[in-house]
Each structure stands twice: as C-alpha cells, then as structure tokens.
C-alpha cells in the first residue's frame, strides 16, 4: 500500500511539473524536455509486463488530455513501457540479482541507471517527434529536435533522481 501511494504521488508530481513548468519551456522553438517517462522507468521490476503497458497508456493519455494531442504521448509512452524489460536486460548485461527490487540508483548504481534512462528517453523522444511530424521530409528536423531535447530531459531526470533518491553511501 505504501508503495502504491509512493508511485501515485510520483505520478501526480511528474505530470504536474511537466504540464505546469516544462511544457512552457521551448528554447528557440526546438528544445522541449519531457520528464514524465520517469514514472514508467521507476516502477518496480516485479511489475507484470501487461500492467506496465496499461500504466504507460494511462500516463500518456493523461499528458495528451492536458496538451490536447490525442494519442501522441500515449503511443510514445506505451512504446517505452513495452521496451522497458528489454532495456533492463540490455543495461544489466546479465540476469538481475535477486536483491534488485526497483530500478533506482540506490539499488542498481548510477552508471546502470544512466544507460537505462537515456535509452528509454531516446526511444520516447524519437517516437514522439517522429509521430508528431509524421512526414519523412521532416526526418532531419525530428532528429535535430531529439538531439537537442533528449540531453536536457536526461539531465533533468538525473537531477530529480539524485535529489529524491540519493545513491547509498558506500
């Protein structure tokens, strides 16, 4: 129950920051950070894959309601939820240790978390920008936006994670 509350609170907080603050940041009309995929990233390992997908759908849909872009964020976030287990495997390079409960810095280490989060962010942003323009002519434009926005999103995510879930002292 405690876990459930924690994740719900994180969900509300991330959506709030995204809608109220980050959606108003657009430097030069290109750079636009998205941090709400962090909600999907931080869900526990034990969560069944189908539930991940549903939560991804819900998260994206909530964002879409606020941004009046029906389906756009939903599609991108469902994709993130779908590839998450594969990225976890890829980032670990080995089967997860028994003790691993949640994909946080404290449990998995900061290097693991960095490669894990940047992969998901790139997948998310790429899907988002490609679907939004949906035009092969604007491919270079989408890549450009990805290259500008993804590092900013990743930096914000790392800041949040370090602030709220600092790595354990060794």
């Amino acid at each position: 129950m405690n876990n459930f509350l924690r994740h719900s609170f994180r969900f509300v907080a991330l959506i709030f920051i995204q809608v109220m603050v980050l959606n108003h940041i657009h430097i030069g009309g290109y750079v636009n950070p998205f941090i709400y995929p962090l909600f999907i990233m931080l869900l526990p390992f034990s969560m069944p894959h189908w539930l991940l997908l549903f939560l991804g759908f819900g998260t994206g849909f909530t964002l879409d309601l606020f941004m009046s872009t029906p389906g756009l964020h939903t599609a991108a976030t469902v994709l993130v939820a779908f590839v998450r287990p594969y990225i976890v495997r890829l980032a670990s390079g080995a089967p997860l240790p028994e003790s691993a409960s949640e994909p946080t810095i404290a449990v998995m280490g900061s290097r693991w978390f960095f490669s894990y989060s940047i992969s998901l962010i790139i997948i998310h942003h790429l899907a988002l920008f490609l679907l939004e323009s949906f035009d092969p002519q604007h491919l270079s434009d989408s890549i450009y936006r990805l290259l500008l926005s993804a590092p900013l999103s990743e930096a914000l995510i790392l800041m949040l994670v370090y602030f709220f879930q600092p790595p354990r002292k060794r």
Binding site: V19, M20, N23, H24, H26, G28, G29, Y30, V31, N32, H49, W50, L53, F54, G56, F57, G60, D64, L65, F66, M67, S68, T69, P70, G71, L72, T74, A75, V78, L79, F82, L131, E132, S133, F134, D135, H138, D141
Partner: protein, 272 residues
C-alpha cells in the same frame, strides 16, 4: 482452438502492446483530420480550468508587455478614427463593421514547439464563438477555431500542418497561400510564386478576404527572404509573421455574420 489460446497466452504482452498502440495511433490520426474530435473538445474544458490557474499566476509577469501592446493598439485605432472622419461615405468600411464582429478573448494555453500547435482560449460558445472562426492578435492573424466547449475554445494556430491561409501582397494585390513548414515559429512560407511576380524583401502581406474567416486587409507578415527555385519555375518566399506566437496573450475571435449565407451560396454553386 487450443493452439489459438496457447498462442495468445504466449504472446499476450505483444498482442496487448499492439492493441494499445493501435488505439493510440487511431486517436492520433483521427484528431489530425482538420477538425478535432468532440471528445477532446470536452477535455479542453477540463484542462482549461487547470490552465487558468497557471495563467492567473503567470499573467502578472506579462502585465507590462500586455499594457504596452494594448496602448499601441489604442493609439492605432484612434489614428484610424482621425484619418477616416467620413466612415459613412465608404461602403466597404461600413460593410466590414457590420459583417465582422470581434470577440475579445485571452489565451490560456498556447505552444510553438510542435509541428502542430494549438491555442486554447478562455471563451466558448457562451460568448458566441463557433467552429471555423478566425483568431487574430493585435499584431496580425493568429489562427482558426477548431472546437468549442461551453467556456473554452481550441484553435489551431498558423503554426499547424493544416493551417494554410489565403493572403495578398499589399503592394500589388497578388494572391498567395501562406503555410508553415515546421521549425522556427517566426517564419512561414509561400509556395508557388510565379516567376513574373516581383517580390521584394519587406513586402507586406495581408489577408485576402477570400476565406470568409478573416476580413480583408489584416496584417499577416512581411517577406523575409525570396528563394528562387533551381528550375526557375515556381519560387518560394520566407515570411516573417507579424504575430509573435510565443507571446500570444490577448486575441480577438472574428465572427463573420454572413458566413452561413456565403457558405450556402458556395454550396449552391458546387451543386450546379
């Protein structure tokens, strides 16, 4: 049958993923058809309340800018009054005044960073706003209303894949179509300019009045660059919008009182 169940059991995650993606993409492509779905118009009422909270805070940061803009507009209007003491003698002006009504509204949400950008306004059908009305800012054309709820309206700004408007070169009256290709929100583009047409940097573009959305003569932009095509057939021009979409706050929605009449007239002509 058993094989089918086994297949579903084995691939349930993949199937669920595909199903959810299909739902999402379906929503996405439906909404891109020129008019937004009714469901999302309703949602603009929900998120509108949320955005109003945000606006009530951030409005203070822009008070000075807004004041200046309104003062400038006032000055401009006063000047017009002075220069046109004989309004009644000019039929067109009277006509303009009775046909087009301006409904002032405030922008509660607006973006410029996407390929398709939308403006949400704080007035809806209670204030007389309907679908397909034009939106102008004090500086020039801003967009077109695509959906209304009771107290809010949503419109696509000129920064949208489907927002092409008919414009006219003020200098020589030639018609052109202005659209936005994405990227920098300050610049739009005019395609297919015939070679014989001389376009200079700084030429002013105004609305043509052909679309019934906007009255004739509203500022749209100025020519920034003239791009001659390689094969010498049809050239392009880069247009700087007079409206600064990143600072859009106070706008007017244009109600064309004769629109239904004009529309039905066009229908008759099509039926012929």
């Amino acid at each position: 049958m058993i094989n089918l169940i086994r297949f579903i059991q084995k691939h349930h995650v993949l199937l669920l993923f595909l199903l959810l993606e299909i739902i999402a993409l379906n929503m996405l492509f439906r909404s891109n058809a020129y008019h937004r779905s009714a469901a999302f118009t309703m949602n603009s009422a929900v998120s509108g309340v949320f955005y109003r909270m945000h606006k009530s805070v951030t409005d203070y940061f822009y008070l000075q800018q807004t004041n200046e803009q309104l003062a400038q507009e006032n000055a401009y209007l006063r000047q017009q009054l002075q220069h046109n003491p004989v309004l009644s003698e000019k039929d067109s002006l009277i006509l303009n005044d009775t046909i087009f009504h301006y409904i002032p509204a405030r922008v509660v949400s607006n973006n410029v960073q996407f390929r398709n950008n939308y403006i949400v306004l704080n007035k809806g059908y209670e204030a007389g706003i309907e679908k397909d009305m034009g939106i102008i800012s004090p500086e020039g054309v801003a967009g077109i209303i695509t959906g209304v709820s009771k107290n809010y309206a949503i419109g696509m700004s000129l920064l949208h894949k489907f927002a092409a408007i008919s414009v006219r070169f003020k200098r020589n009256g030639n018609l052109a179509n202005l659209s936005w290709q994405g990227g920098d929100y300050r610049f739009g583009i005019i395609d297919h300019i015939p070679t014989h047409l001389v376009v200079n940097k700084g030429d002013t573009l105004i609305t043509s009045g052909n679309s019934h959305l906007f009255p004739e003569g509203i500022l749209v932009g100025t020519v920034e660059d003239y791009i001659a095509s390689d094969d010498g057939a049809l050239n392009q021009a880069r247009i700087r919008f007079t409206t600064d979409f990143n600072r859009l706050r106070q706008v007017y929605v244009i109600d064309n009182k004769h629109r239904s009449e004009l529309d039905s007239l066009l229908m008759i002509r099509v039926d012929e």
